[in-house]
Amino acid sequence: MRTLFDRLGGRSAITAVVDDFYDRLTRDPRVLHQFAEERLPSLRAAQVAWLTTAFGGAPGQPMADLAAAHRGLDITDDQVTAVLGHLEAALSDAGVEPELQRQAMSIVSRLWFARVF
């Protein structure tokens, strides 16, 4: 069975989605203070790698430990909703069909909410 990564269009598609995703995050006053300007390039790269693994484009578990990576950030429920919304919008604007979008979001939200399980 082809991976979600392949069906989403592979590395170039993921990179484009992540670029758009971060553009949205850094324009949203609800979350923008969580993203330090100088760290953005490395965050984008890490996000591409993370999503690639999450969608089965690379073996194993996404290497970043989500719980550790977000420790001390004091993230609110509203912020989680906002961030997931931006990712969904980025996928949608990239022309990803609704069913694939749903599957992609389902993986991402599961990995997020299971981070401290």
């Binding site: 599961r110 909410f113 399980f117």
Partner: protein, 875 residues
């Protein structure tokens, strides 16, 4: 939002299992986990702790439970998620999936499957699908030694779900567990005896402790429980449970038996049959428990070991009696949900009482709509037996016949339709129509006979006073599958009612494609977007074929792969066959022989046990035959012929074209090229007569490939050939270019085919173009360029030795010195460096190099490196 969740403190000795479930949830490649262990070991406990914990973490959770009593009723476990409608339809599965997705919103969904080994097949299949399409992460429990439904075990086999074994507790944990149960610690004596008796099974331990406390065998002395004598010594948990149930009074036993036979049961239903006080007492005795599902209180056992024990204790006659009582009680309730209809009907059947025909009719329809054809057949049979000689007889027979057909049991389908009790003339016109469509369709699809099928349908139409859109659409579908597009298209003129029925759209799609106008076919389907989902497997595969024939090879592969995955998830065997054949065909066209053969092979295996047994098998074997024969593998092709001889004949056409081309190619590779060409030309003429121009072009291009282009052209020009799309016109150009030795035209054909992805055809066209310029004594540089193009394309395919390619292999030979110099230059040296290294003059190097450029048809050093790569190792 907190960074840490409270630990699960009521789970003694289960840290490892709990960590395992957390780790599984964080693995993106998993969509489920299954706790496996003995009865009473604590699997459900772990599941419920997981669900609670997940809710705290932000998951949305839904839980369903399998029970032995309802294991035969499709979707019983998911019933609470179905809206209460009067009757089920084909949308039940879709509705549940949508309801779950809505409930989850943007939160992840955790679906609990308690006692997954007891789930009904439909619920299990749905759970499998929900995990695979990532609607939910599934966490289930399975009792060790029990066989779960195939859909559940395949979650583990496919690696979608991980197994988490749940072992008995060790002595220390069991002692802690005893303290949790009693609220106070136990002495070492108690702990030791408890472990010896129960071997660490927590449910067993809990039962023993509570029993021992109430009977005074263990007593509290200064805050610690000590044993006064010996703990009771049943040999097993089930023996202990049997003893507990045997000690109950008659009233209580009756309540327990009813729940074991029919449960879980609605409280109002149960209260009609037993004393409500008894239920309250059984609840406080921790045997029964009530859970709310969809605003209804359902009464079940606290643990399935009690259900098992209670079932064992009920005699068969008593069980029948109770099923009848349950059916009567549920029958009095209104409104009825689909679930209730199914329960009443099956309880009446199993209880040996007569059910109302209208109830059985409704139940049969619901069972079919939930894809439980086994149950539909059983219920429909009971319905039929009551109404066979009434005006409803034919309708019942049609329902049962459809259920048989879905299971590939054609003989049974025929015999119920031919039952002497059925009075067709008394049946409603719509039922007579249905009967004719089922019989006609079966005569063609299952038994491969066109004429009798059409006759049957015509007779039915005449009897009903003329044409009917359903009859026309069915006939059209048969004609188009039988390779008669003109007849098919005449029955479904654009805008006619027949043209808008699923069978009519499918027929148009196939007919227009084989007629040589696949682009028009796709346009026609474009007007019915819903068709892709409702037209069935054959129709969807026809869509993939239209995409191939129009030249959209990559789209076809993409579309068919998606279809294959959907069919695989839905356990739709028939669909898998159609998609695998479509994928094989696409790969064959792309020049990927090995992949094509794998798909055809897979289709053959799957077809053997499906409703598409004969034509599916012949079709897949036809593809295999063609692939092997074209690739000069006569022994492989003969093996396929041998397999084909064991499959009954079938008058469907799609496979016949593959098979006939394969037979002709085999003849050619066995040395009789002229005979092969004659065969192909005959088939081309037959295709022309029938209006199948797509097949005609394919036959004629084969004639060209066997080096008889002028015959091909003559047969092409005999009757006008109107084709659309990208592929077929290009193939016609190839025939013309070959017949007129038009090298430039053939080169243009090569580029077009390569661009579309038809690399096998492209490689042959390039080789043909090269042969033409070579034979025309073209300029050496031009010949070399053509040779290089041919060489390049041959690298991209894994069909190496079709006869065309075998007899004309571009030979590009460099002298030893030329090669030596070329390789050094390709590595990046300058002419001066090469001259110095070989101790020759720069001018000599350059004159060698000039000859190399001409021979290889290259113009730059970069091109030189590529060309050398293609040339391979020096000979």
């Amino acid at each position: 939002m907190c960074d840490k969740l409270p630990s699960v403190d009521d789970l003694v000795g289960r840290q490892a299992e709990f960590a395992a479930i957390g780790a599984a949830l964080r693995r993106p490649d998993l969509a489920g986990a299954l706790f496996i262990g003995d009865a009473g070991v604590g699997k459900s406990h772990l599941l419920h702790a997981t669900l609670r914990h997940a809710e705290e973490a932000g998951f949305v959770t839904v839980s369903i439970t399998g029970t032995r009593a309802l294991g035969d009723i499709p979707l019983a476990a998911f019933a609470a998620l179905l809206p209460g409608r009067p009757a089920g339809d084909a949308g039940d599965l879709v509705q549940i999936r949508r309801a779950l997705q809505e409930r989850a919103g943007n939160r992840p969904l955790l679906l609990g499957l308690d006692d997954a080994h007891l789930l009904d097949e439909a619920s299990a299949a749905l759970a499998h699908q929900l995990a695979n399409d990532l609607t939910a992460f599934v966490v289930g429990t399975i009792r060790a030694g029990e066989a779960p439904p195939e859909a559940i075990s395949s979650l583990m086999k496919e690696g979608v779900a991980v197994r988490i074994p749940v072992e008995p507790l060790d002595a220390a944990d069991l002692s802690t567990f005893a303290e949790v149960i009693l609220g106070q610690p136990v002495s070492d004596d108690v702990a030791e005896q408890l472990f010896l008796r129960t071997l660490g099974n927590p449910l067993f331990a809990k039962e023993l402790l509570l029993e021992a406390r109430s009977s005074g065998v263990i007593v509290d002395r200064g805050g610690v429980f000590h044993v006064d004598g010996d703990l009771p010594a049943p040999s097993s948990l089930s023996q202990f449970v049997d003893a507990r149930l045997a000690a109950l009074g008659d009233v209580h036993q009756r309540a327990v038996s009813l729940v074991a036979i029919g449960g879980p049961l609605e409280i109002e239903l149960l209260e009609q049959l037993v004393d409500p006080d008894a239920l309250v007492e059984l609840e406080s005795a921790r045997l029964l428990t009530a859970d709310e599902h969809d605003d209804t209180l359902m009464v079940g056992f606290v643990h399935p070991v009690y259900a098992d024990a209670a079932r064992r204790a009920v005699g068969r006659l008593a069980a029948r009696q109770m099923l009848r009582e349950l059916a009567d009680a549920l029958d009095r309730r209104t409104p009825r949900r689909p679930q209730d209809v199914l329960r009443i009907a099956t309880w009446r059947l199993d209880g040996g009482s007569l059910a109302d025909p209208s109830l059985l009719a409704a139940a049969t329809r619901i069972a079919s709509s939930r894809n439980d054809f086994d149950l539909a057949e059983r219920l429909g049979r009971a319905w039929f037996d009551q109404v066979a000689d009434t005006p409803d007889g034919l309708r019942a027979a049609c329902r049962v016949a459809s259920a048989y057909i879905e299971q590939g049991e054609y003989g049974e389908a025929i015999s119920i339709l031919a039952d002497p009790r059925v009075r067709r003339e008394a049946a409603a016109p719509i039922d007579r129509l249905r009967g004719a469509v089922i019989e006609g369709g079966m005569t063609f699809w299952a038994f491969g006979k066109v004429a009798p099928a059409i006759e049957m349908l015509d007779a039915a139409a005449a009897e009903l006073g003329g044409a009917h859109p359903l009859i026309d659409a069915t006939k059209a579908a048969i004609w188009s599958a039988a390779g008669r597009p003109n007849e098919a298209l005449a029955l479904t003129p654009p805008g006619s009612p027949a043209a808008t029925m699923p069978a009519g759209v499918a027929s148009d799609l196939l007919a227009l494609t084989t007629a040589g106008t696949p682009a028009l076919a796709l346009q026609r389907v474009g007007d019915h977007p819903e068709f892709v989902h409702t037209g069935g497997a054959i129709a969807a595969a026809a869509h993939a074929f239209a995409l191939v024939e129009t030249g959209r090879l990559r789209d076809a592969t993409e579309f068919a792969l998606d279809g294959w995955e959907r069919a695989e998830r839905a356990h739709d065997r028939h669909g898998c066959v159609a998609w695998a054949i479509a994928l094989g065909w696409a790969d064959l066209n792309a020049g990927r022989r090995r992949a094509a053969e794998q798909w055809f092979d897979r289709a053959t295996t799957l077809a053997e046990r499906s409703a598409a047994a004969v034509h599916g098998t012949r079709w897949a074997l036809g593809g295999l035959l063609l692939s092997r024969a074209q690739d000069t593998d006569p022994s492989g092709a003969l093996l396929v012929l041998d397999r084909l001889s064991g499959v009954p004949p079938h008058e469907a056409r799609a496979h016949a074209d593959l098979e006939l081309r394969g037979r002709a190619w085999l003849r050619a590779v066995q040395g009789d090229v002229d005979g092969a060409v004659r065969e192909l030309l005959d088939h081309a003429d037959e295709a022309t007569d029938r209006g199948r121009h797509a097949s005609r072009v394919r036959y004629l291009i084969d004639v060209v490939r066997l080096n008889h282009p002028s015959e091909a052209l003559a047969h092409l020009d005999s009757v006008p050939c109107v084709v659309d799309g990208e592929l077929l016109p290009t193939l016609i150009d190839a025939i013309r270019a070959a017949a007129t030795a038009d090298a430039a035209g053939m080169a243009a054909v090569t580029d077009r085919l390569a661009e579309l992805g038809f690399l096998g055809y492209a490689a042959e066209a390039a080789t043909a173009a090269w042969t033409m310029v070579r034979d025309a004594n073209g300029e050496t540089r031009t010949v070399a360029q053509y040779a290089r193009r041919a060489q390049e394309l041959r690298e991209g395919i894994d069909v190496h030795v079709t006869p065309v390619l075998a007899q004309a292999r571009p030979e590009i030979s460099l002298s030893r010195r030329e090669r030596e110099i070329a390789e050094l230059v390709a590595e990046g040296r300058t002419s001066r460096e090469v001259a110095d290294e070989l101790i020759i003059g720069v001018r000599t190097v350059e004159s060698h190099l000039a000859r190399v450029y001409v021979k290889l048809g290259v113009r730059s050093r970069t091109e030189l490196a590529d060309a050398l790569g293609l040339l391979g190792a020096p000979t």
